[in-house]
Subunit: 915 residues, 2 copies
């Protein structure tokens, strides 16, 4: 006979915490607490296997379940010394869901189960005080509502209407102000209402109630809300939910009862300090609901709270005493349990407790959710306390959270309501006055103002404006739109793709709020939120423990971590944040701004090679000096420089006025400029004349860049630094493209070196792998390449056929339908694009076994992708400077997971060989 | 010692025709003719290996060459009874290049080699007649010019100036009118000129002349012109050119001398009739140069020619007698040689001959170039004559030529000069009046006029105009641009991408010629040419032998051949041309025209699903009736229908006036229409919201289409036909996309069928493989697919990252540099995109071993690609109806080549096993 029901209670639970898959997180931890000797109301768990059977059979429970439930129930009755359905001493149950992964509020719960008219009457007879009657009728009323709603799926509106009507007729505001007679009357009304809604009488048989509730919880596993939640949170591979049936204890029974929640350490900063709140004579939901002001459990925090809220010590002691003061015995017991749980689970705990008539019961414990700061601090401290190893500390971090430590944030204590939502394109928060153009952003910034630039979308022409703005908000564009990529590179807050914004000249409207130029807004790029007015900000907490923990990570990681840095400032940041080199220096960003863009435009509009060469002459010294600064700041670290990549039309003005200005500057008719700009137009610029195609059409451009690189390397080499420039050719799809551009580059470099006898520069020449064809024919391409660097943005665009500028509209639906559960521009599509990468690595290394391989797309900063990069054997990842710490943590985790997997595999093998 | 020189002459040549790689085509065939006992001036061939050594050593000949040349030369002297450099009886040589592949005019030739001042003087002394002196001085003059130009690379301008000056001073027009004294004087002038140009005296040593000429020919193998020619004609794998040194014979020696060219059958229509032209007392180049009117070799054709040219019999006999009449003995001998060569080479021959003083010499024979018609006719007839097998006949066809038989052509006899060149986008020829918009094309067409529509580029809005036009000419766009693809599908002549055209409202200028609306032009889509005025056209020659040969091909081919057909008319054509089904029916073309486009636009502009469903209701019956017609015309053949693919913005008007019209029709403000159109704009529409992405965003569109398909199948099924619709989902990249759309389609289809009990439709649901990701994960996708069809246009666009609309500009340079030797949109990139196809087939069939796989991109009609499709194991190819015969031939060749290869491999194995 299969075992479907696991008892937890004296003397020992049948389950333990290792059985999370079978008993759910809640059930496993309740069993574990029982086994630790911690007071837990007894109960039993119906396994997730039963849920799977229930789902597969469309609502049938295995026959054995009934008998096993009854047996466990008898043990609970025995321990609680009450009987289920016994009017004289009724045992009541809570029936709660609990899967292996947390799905808060997604599935159903029934409390107070076991009540019926007979038990209520008998109970009242036994405890006739008004307080007791109030409690009993209120419990019954709540149970009827919950049962009707959850089990019979009637909704609860009419029940709420009835109580609202009752309060109105009694002239009271709160449920608590109703008399016990009112509540009794409500119970009667509810029973009638139940019959009206369901067509049957309210079940009086507790056992019938119990199984109906169990069925309802199992059913709720497959409801739309729960399924959506699992899909959005990428929860897969679970059998179903378990059902926990636990004896009810009441925090709202009397004034020696209470209920509360606590964290074993501070979930906001990780300090090793017992933090929690409780309410006397209350139910669990009252603490959360915020109707009453919760009290602190510890005296120290209670005093601090009173001071902050101007509450006199007299009033505090009377109305808001700490648990330490009000229930010293229970408090001491709770402190012991806190220590016990932390020692046992070796992690910060989030606990729920209830005191019933002076007796403490634990209702739940689990690893606590925490902020990035708390996460680092707690992991760091627990290593010091000897609770966990460094390896465990590292594996416990959420690398995605690390990012939050790098930027200003909106003060979590500020209760501001967002007025709109976009994509969390670049983390951090910004407060500023609204402007609508790059020019305005620069002018206002120059006038000492903080501005947020709001644009339909951004283009390279907006770069200076973005630099001047404190934050960027765009209507269009995804996580890898121009605005998002550039903002992340700058470490500047950005919310992109807020499609609800309606732009209208120098104002915009968002969900009914209109903002004119100069009005204040706040944006939160970490969460993708937009707020009206000025939000209070808090500074990043890049503290000592953070760098200690990063240091540990560096010891374990195998992947190199480089930064994408286009400017000397970027590369300085990169070094500060721990980058081991530059994995992508995009030279095109050097072409913007002042004289550079003018020369660039003259080059583009030139009618022949001579004209282009002349214009490029003006750019060359500027580019060389940029390279000199970057090389200097990177010291001996490698720097990968990508030659010009974007299509030329990105550099020319598309607006009439700007074209007229350029024509005047160049001394040519405006019609000429307009015609040239038109001729550069492309239907699909992403698949157009860009990357090495430019270098092949106009070798003089790449030659100029290579010259600037080699001359800069020579210059910096004079200071004693060893500069190792890695010249990277973009958008190669075929060996011959690389062969041609490489030959040009070598000729140019050797010509520079030939003019300086005795000088050497160890430059290498490699390629981006970003065209699917390149991945597929990587064995051919490897013959010409000193290194590969995966450009996963383009590889995703071409591999999946998704324009990053246009795909947001259907990718949203794809995510909702689970077609692409994750945005493939945020986290690498490992099955598809990842397969291209695996093929490319295999083929590339079949020709050059030691080929250096990295990734420099936006995915290089995504922890899931970093784990993938480690597994497929890349040498390094490269990401925006602000993501470097995230990448370091993820890289360390990847290395540790590999060891874990290897150990597990070894163990399995060893176990096998013994058989 | 290596053998570098091969003698040909009595009694036997050292080489034969099997040695084409070593001796070049010319050398091998000269040797073969000698061995057949055909009179050939003796000589010898220096092998292509020597050329390879010459190239590799930058201009050194192996030492052995000198001795071997001298030995062969001695044999020639013996046979000719003349001596090289002997003033009394000089032996002269021609020195000609000759590689294994024909490269007409690309490399250098020196004639009359061996002359010097002493031989000339001695010769003249021996033959003092004025006629002889004229001939001898003229030969010397020509030799000096040729030697200076070819060997010393001086150019020939100043020599030409000198003779021009001489003619002027003598008051004559033709070289022939100069006296022998004039020519003697010119020889002296030339010798002075030579010294001035080269700084040395003209070499008098014949042996020195000979080796200098040999070196020059080898050098010319690597000249820019020859390299370009090889690249453009995809000639690879050759060692180099051979050099043929052959005793000179002179057709211009006297009136019993002559020179001529002939074809063993008619190269224009393949009739088995000896066709050729000759000139008495002339050199080979005179026949080609067209200075004198050539005479017919046979009497019958000579009489016909005289009639056509109003030449009296008297005049004909006097001035233009046939060879049959003028040199009956040589003519008979030539006729024998013709039979001899055809029997031996078993193919139509192109021959050159010279008669010197009544003695016939053969200078060259080779397989003749011929028109498509001649090719088919000749292959057909030779099978009947027992000369070749059917297999050989098929393998001898050029499938690309077949296309020419399907369309009108410009009369090859019309000597028109093109005024411009574009891409040969869709074959055939058209003559019409110029119009500049689709509307005008339709109006003029309705008025009974023939028009050629000239556009910057075309879009789906131009479809009706293209249909009304007799030809299409565009400024932009490659071989797979909208204009090209649609025109080919319609079988309509199109020249695309003529970038030299400057459009200016209702006129255009091309290389100085301006055409206003209504002026006549002619375009040749087979060759990509544009002509001023009306060119004479000839009708296609789809004759009896053609269908006989196609019938043979059908017996051998294994690949199925289907047609891409969007309309009932297309599908009727397809059946006529031999298609075995429809491989691609693009439903979007059904949405254009009149009421359909209006309903479609209302659907697109609708604000919600209900609005879309309502608009689609209007389209559904029209679509259903189209399907009914297509199913009817295809009989029991399979029809693959692709659901809606293009992005919605292709259906909406982008011009203000059209938007205003639509707004008025829909009763909405024009601003609303404009705003909706703007919101549909995409940066990279090729990677945007199209294909199955539309079907997932708006399931109602695909549902409507599936309903129309199933209902049409039911309707046509009533007539007794077995309709097997294959529903094809476009742009799938991930299994889940196909899963979703397939499920929708099945639900819709089953709902239709459920309403008609007892009715069955054997529909299947498959997918395009056109996104690289789909190819890479084809094992996953195959789980959901009943069939795969490769969309190689998109697979090339995404695989290589080339927008077909934008890539022409750099692909031209890529072709010139040999990076992509072939346009990947014309002939499949087998290494890259082909690898995606191989992966997809392997993965797809790993899940479903019998998975039906085809190709429906533009490449499906390209013979090279068809061979590839056969090799990788596809079931069928699908191409435009007019390419179906081409595909049938190519498919048969693929099957035959496979047998040949297998036989060769078996032989090799058998040979190996004997060792």
């Amino acid at each position: 006979m299969s075992k479907y029901v696991y008892f937890f209670g004296s003397p020992k639970a049948e389950g333990d915490r290792s059985m999370k898959q079978l008993l759910g997180g809640k059930g496993a931890n309740l069993a574990e607490m029982v086994n630790l000797g911690i007071p837990v109301p007894p109960g039993f768990t119906i396994t997730t296997e039963v849920c799977a059977i229930y789902t597969a059979t469309k609502g049938k429970l295995p026959d054995e379940v009934t008998a096993q439930v009854k047996a466990s129930l008898a043990r609970v009755e025995k321990e609680m010394k009450r009987k289920f359905g016994d009017p004289s001493n009724p045992l009541l149950f809570s029936v709660r869901s609990g899967a292996a992964a947390s799905m808060p509020g997604m599935m159903d719960t029934v409390l107070n189960l076991g009540l019926n008219t007979a038990t209520v009457d008998a109970w009242v007879a036994r405890r006739p005080s008004d307080e007791s009657r109030h409690f009993i009728y209120d419990s019954y009323r709540r149970f009827i509502t919950m049962y009707s709603d959850v089990v019979m799926q009637t909704g609860r509106e009419e029940y709420e209407e009835a109580i609202t009507h009752m309060k109105k007729s009694r002239g009271v505001k709160s449920d608590a102000d109703l008399t016990s007679d009112d509540l009794k009357k409500l119970c009667d009304e509810y029973l009638v209402l139940y019959q009206k809604k369901t067509g049957g009488t309210f079940p009086q048989d507790p056992m019938q109630q119990l199984f109906a509730a169990v069925n309802a919880v199992f059913r709720s596993w497959s409801n739309h809300r729960a399924e959506t939640y699992r899909r959005l949170n990428h929860i897969t591979g679970l059998l179903g939910t378990a059902v926990n049936i636990q004896a009810m204890v009441f925090g709202n029974l009397n004034n020696t009862s209470a209920t509360g929640v606590a964290f074993s350490r501070s979930p906001s900063d990780g300090e090793n300090f017992f933090y929690g709140e409780f309410l006397i004579n209350a139910q669990g939901e009252d603490v959360v609901a915020g109707i009453r002001t919760p009290q602190q459990i510890g005296k120290v925090l209670s005093l601090k709270w009173a001071k902050e809220h101007n509450v006199s010590e007299m009033e505090r002691l009377k109305k808001f005493p700490s648990m330490e003061e009000a229930m010293p015995e229970c408090y001491r017991q709770l402190c012991d349990i806190r220590g016990n749980l932390e020692n046992h689970f070796r992690d910060m705990q989030d606990i729920e407790f209830t005191v019933e008539s002076g007796r403490l019961w634990m209702l739940q414990c689990r690893n606590a959710k925490r902020t990035a700061l708390a996460s680092i601090k707690c992991a760091h401290d627990m290593v010091g306390e000897g609770l966990i190893t460094k390896e465990e500390a590292i594996l416990r971090l959420d690398p995605n959270q690390i990012d939050h430590l790098m930027h200003q944030q909106i003060d979590p204590k500020a209760a501001m309501k967002p007025i709109g939502k976009g994509l969390a394109a670049s983390p951090g928060a910004a407060v500023g006055q609204v402007v609508f153009s790059a020019t305005d952003a620069m002018e206002w910034h120059a006038a000492g103002k903080k501005v947020i630039m709001v644009r339909l979308e951004t283009s390279p022409e907006d770069l200076a404006g973005m630099n001047a703005a404190t934050g960027i908000l765009t209507v269009r564009g995804g996580m890898t739109s121009h605005a998002a990529v550039v903002a992340r590179g700058m470490g500047k807050c950005c919310v992109s793709g807020c499609g609800d914004i309606v732009l209208n000249g120098k104002s915009f409207t968002l969900h009914g709020h209109t903002f004119k130029e100069g009005e204040w807004i706040s944006i939160d790029g970490t969460r993708g939120l937009i707020f009206k007015g000025k939000a209070p900000l808090v500074d990043p907490s890049f503290k000592g423990v953070f760098s200690t923990v990063l240091g540990w990570c560096k010891q374990y990681k195998r992947l190199g971590v480089r930064a994408n840095a286009d400017t000397p400032k970027d590369s300085e940041n990169a070094v500060t944040f721990g980058a081991e080199g530059v994995g992508l220096c995009r030279t095109e960003h050097m072409f913007f701004g002042g004289a550079r863009i003018d020369a660039m435009r003259q080059m583009i509009l030139a009618e022949n090679e001579a004209g282009r060469v002349k214009a490029l002459k003006a750019v060359e010294p500027l580019q060389r000096s940029d390279f000199i600064e970057i090389f200097k700041s990177m010291g001996n670290r490698p720097v990968t420089i990508r030659l010009l990549d974007p299509p030329l039309h990105e550099f020319v003005p598309h607006e009439e006025k700007a074209q007229a200005d350029l024509a005047a500057k160049m001394g040519v008719p405006v019609a000429f400029v307009a015609q040239r700009v038109r001729s550069l137009h492309e239907e699909n610029p992403m698949l157009g004349h860009r990357g090495c195609r430019l270098g092949i059409s106009y070798p003089e451009i790449y030659n100029m860049q290579v010259r600037a690189i080699i001359e800069a390397a020579i210059e910096v080499g004079k200071t004693g630094l060893v500069v190792n420039p890695e010249i990277m050719i973009p958008l190669v799809g075929k060996r011959e493209e690389l062969e041609f551009t490489k030959l040009q580059a070598i000729k140019t470099a050797e010509a520079v070196l030939a003019a300086r006898p005795g000088v050497k520069v160890n430059y290498t020449i490699g390629t981006m792998i970003e065209v699917p064809r390149a991945a597929i024919t990587a064995d051919e391409i490897a013959k010409e390449a000193d290194f590969f660097s995966f450009g996963t943005n383009d590889l995703t665009q071409m591999g999946c056929g998704f324009s990053r500028d246009d795909s947001a509209v259907f990718l949203a639906r794809y995510a909702a339908l689970g077609i692409y559960p994750r945005d493939p521009f945020q986290s690498l599509d490992q099955e598809g694009v990842g397969e291209l990468i695996r093929i490319a690595i295999r083929k590339g290394r079949s020709v050059k076994p030691l080929l250096k391989i990295g990734i420099c797309g936006e995915h290089g900063g995504d922890p899931r992708t970093i784990l993938f990069c480690h597994k497929v054997g890349m040498n390094y990842v490269s990401c925006s400077p602000f993501r470097v710490p995230t990448a370091i943590v993820a890289a360390a985790q990847a290395a540790l997971l590999e060891v874990e997997e290897a150990t597990a595999a070894r163990k399995k093998l060893a176990a096998g060989s013994k058989l």
